[in-house]
Symmetry: D2
Subunit: 112 residues, 4 copies
């Protein structure tokens, strides 16, 4: 496919991250100690929506890929930082996916 070469890995990292953020969001809402997870829930949703938006933008070769992926890096790092405050397995996995996604966006942006 057309976009395989340039965007492939970054699209995949965004979609993995969207998934991990949504899993963390759903799982947070089920935790017993909910109050400390307010920011985690909100940032999970932010990050999931922005990652999904970034993946779609790359796949349709948007002229705004640069701006959107820079935004994605910000959202991923903020979500990772918040998730790393918590011991839940879903938070750890989410933080990891966020860090990988931010890295993939940076790598992709260094080539465009």
């Amino acid at each position: 496919m057309l976009n395989e070469l340039k965007y492939k890995e970054c699209i995949e990292a965004c979609l993995q991250c969207m998934n991990a953020c949504n899993v963390c969001y759903v799982s947070c809402l089920k935790e017993y100690e909910l109050a400390m997870l307010r920011d985690c829930i909100a940032l999970d949703r932010e990050c999931a929506d922005i990652c999904a938006f970034a993946a779609q933008a790359m796949s349709r070769k948007s002229p705004y890929v640069k701006e959107i992926c820079e935004l994605c890096i910000k959202a991923c790092l903020a979500c990772a930082e918040e998730c790393e405050k918590h011991d839940h397995e879903h938070c750890k996995q989410c933080a990891e996916a966020c860090r990988k996604c931010a890295e993939a966006c940076r790598e992709m942006l260094s080539h465009v």
Copy 2:
């Protein structure tokens, strides 16, 4: 992750299909003979947006996964049918991704 077991393959098929539809959409808009691709362009966008929506819905364990994946099947089949009318490589790849995605949604729905 929480949703690995039930939705994993279906999410992946939806995201592959979203990507193929967007690649086909972008590529159609560059073709010399554009007029015959009007429906293909419109159905590509429909299908890409619905597939992205379905993937997000599954990853956040939406209570509406059934309805959304049934809609996804319709959009995939309509897009595949249209793409199969054209000889472009991107149309063929899109049709194939759409058929696979419809199949993955059906398979997933048969287990819920």
Copy 3:
């Protein structure tokens, strides 16, 4: 504009509802008694995303308007029902917007 006549009121109701759901979502996440609002938060997001999707679908004259607006009715009614269990002003306003949106979708669907 092209879609003024048929979809105008329904698009506006969906966008009002998306906004009310997101306001309720954000406000719930700030409430002191968070635990009883788990379902409200999740259904707010569901409903906001589905309403936004429905409004976009109508505005691009999607061939799937019927299915999407039927889904929107379900999401609105479920969100309204949940919001009506709570006394917060944002929940009341959200429930009202959801009921109006479900009604506008029904009215629109009766004419197509």
Copy 4:
């Protein structure tokens, strides 16, 4: 509602613009002289998707409102510039909505 004061007008301008862009997109795809509208179709979709994203972001009080609305301004101005090259009524109405939306985003950003 919570966001009435700060974001209200900007959300409305984004949603009006999303609608005008989608109407223009659909109408372009029906025009007889399609080839000269390739960029218009693509930029309409870009702008519609980004406006919808911006409106949702404001309504959920996203921490990324600034970045997203700056992106929205870019997308609106590029879409307006393209639409102004064409004489179709839908292109004129879309250009006007895009200019208004860019202005509303700038106005909103000057207060945050």
